[in-house]
């Protein structure tokens, strides 16, 4: 399934900035960054649960906010893409 991960992290303190970096790292290892704090992750259920667990271990529930959107399996129609950024389709042939 396609999962959209969005977060707001309070970066007023250095601990907050550290959390931001660590959360971004977790997201980067699972999907791709499509906006500054928005990631698209193509994962199965087990990977989704692992992702959620890892993110929950990083955030501070008092100061940060994390939203995970699970998209239904109708690949190709759920995301409309406009503007300068074009995401990589990891299921398409990857040739560089």
């Amino acid at each position: 399934m396609l999962v959209l991960v969005c977060y707001d992290v309070n970066t007023e303190t250095s601990a907050g900035r550290r959390r931001l970096r660590r959360i971004a790292k977790v997201c980067e290892s699972t999907g791709q960054r499509v906006q500054k704090s928005v990631f698209e992750c193509q994962v199965d259920v087990a990977q989704f649960e692992a992702l959620e667990r890892r993110l929950l271990a990083e955030i501070n529930p008092e100061q940060d906010c994390l939203r995970l959107y699970r998209m239904p399996q109708t690949r190709g129609f759920e995301v409309l893409e406009h503007g300068s950024f074009k995401a990589v389709d990891f299921d398409a042939p990857l040739v560089l």
């Binding site: 790292k25 980067e28 290892s29 699972t30 999907g31 791709q32 992750c41 193509q42 994962v43 990977q47 990589v88 990891f90 299921d91 398409a92 042939p93 990857l94 040739v95 560089l96």
Partner: protein, 341 residues
């Protein structure tokens, strides 16, 4: 469907490294692509692509195959972790090879693919023919090939299938010289297919191009984890890459087409060949230009009918090898040769 999540890296100055759980491709220290490892089942590198040891270890741990091919696509090496599906795939391949009915089915598929593709070559030639007489001859030959295709399902023994293939090839090669530009026909005359040694320029050029496709098909099969020697249509013989020859059948017409282009555009000329007693071969310099043209041709975008996706012709053998591997392990998936459109 997780079918094509193989990463192909053709950039010679690319550097692959591990970054958390992603594979990062850098060119001159600039990140070009990041792929989370869970999307990949194989990484195929052409030529001198660099990669870090941590990445190699991680690929091995994750069961992602790393395949090294040289810049021309010839198979060099394959790194695979301790647990690999390879042995099961080969076991399936061997079991299929021992199953007479399956062998016959596969042989029919390979031959059908070849005949369909050769037929397209003649039909296209007929459309582009300058004279109505020649067009008529080419259409008749194409119809003969269609007839061969029709008898193919009735062939109940391997020998009959090979017979149908031989007959179709004869028909096809009798039509092929008509596709050569009239002013070049004298130099590139051919009377059927000759090999070991090729006896005319056309055959010499074909042999050379076939050898390159053969290498590519063999590399592709090895990259997919198949044993290139255990084939279906071609008989098993020590040292013979029978399966590579099988898969290559559907690609021969692509070599023929390229040969015709090279001749008709004057990129290969009569004096590019060494004419020795009874055998003809390409000269060194011409060889280089043929290889270059071949590499260029492989960049042509082709629509793969099964994947409904456009991809470079050069990757089609790799796709076919993976489809073949799937077909060998899965009863519900017959192998379909690559026939465009």
């Amino acid at each position: 469907m997780q079918l094509l999540n193989t990463l192909y890296v053709t950039l010679p100055d690319a550097w692959l490294r591990l970054d958390n759980d992603t594979l990062r491709i850098e060119v001159e220290r600039e990140t070009r692509l990041r792929v989370p490892l869970h999307h990949l089942t194989a990484v195929v590198c052409f030529g001198h692509v660099g990669l870090s040891a941590p990445l190699m270890h991680r690929l091995a741990d994750e069961g992602i195959a790393l395949v090294l091919l040289d810049a021309n696509g010839r198979f060099k090496a394959r790194l695979e972790g301790a647990v690999s599906g390879n042995v099961l795939l080969r076991q399936a391949q061997f079991a299929r090879g021992a199953d007479a009915a399956y062998v016959l089915d596969m042989a029919r598929s390979f031959v059908a693919g070849k005949i369909k593709n050769t037929r397209q070559v003649l039909q296209r030639g007929a459309r582009e023919a300058k004279s109505a007489d020649e067009a008529a001859v080419l259409i008749r030959r194409a119809d003969d090939l269609a007839a061969s295709l029709r008898v193919l399902p009735e062939a109940t023994t391997l020998d009959t299938v090979r017979g149908v293939e031989g007959e179709a090839a004869r028909q096809y090669f009798s039509g092929l010289p008509l596709l050569v530009r009239p002013d070049q026909r004298e130099h590139f005359a051919m009377d059927g297919r000759t090999r070991r040694p090729p006896r005319d320029r056309f055959n010499a050029l074909l042999s050379f191009l076939y050898a390159m496709w053969m290498n590519d098909c063999r590399s592709a099969l090895e990259a997919a984890g198949l044993d290139p020697q255990v084939g279906f249509l071609h008989a098993l013989r020590p040292g013979r890459a029978a399966l590579a020859l099988d898969v290559m059948e559907e690609f021969r017409p692509w070599a023929d087409r390229l040969a015709l282009t090279l001749i008709n555009r004057g990129q290969v000329q009569a004096d590019d060949f060494d004419l020795r007693e009874g055998s003809v071969s390409l000269q060194g310099d011409a060889r280089k230009s043929v290889v270059t043209a071949y590499q260029e041709r492989k960049k042509d975008e082709i629509t793969h009918p099964l994947l409904a996706q456009s991809l470079p012709l050069g990757l089609v053998p790799l796709v076919q090898a993976r489809l073949l591997a799937r077909a060998l392990r899965d009863d519900a998936m017959p192998y379909l040769p690559f026939v465009p459109r």
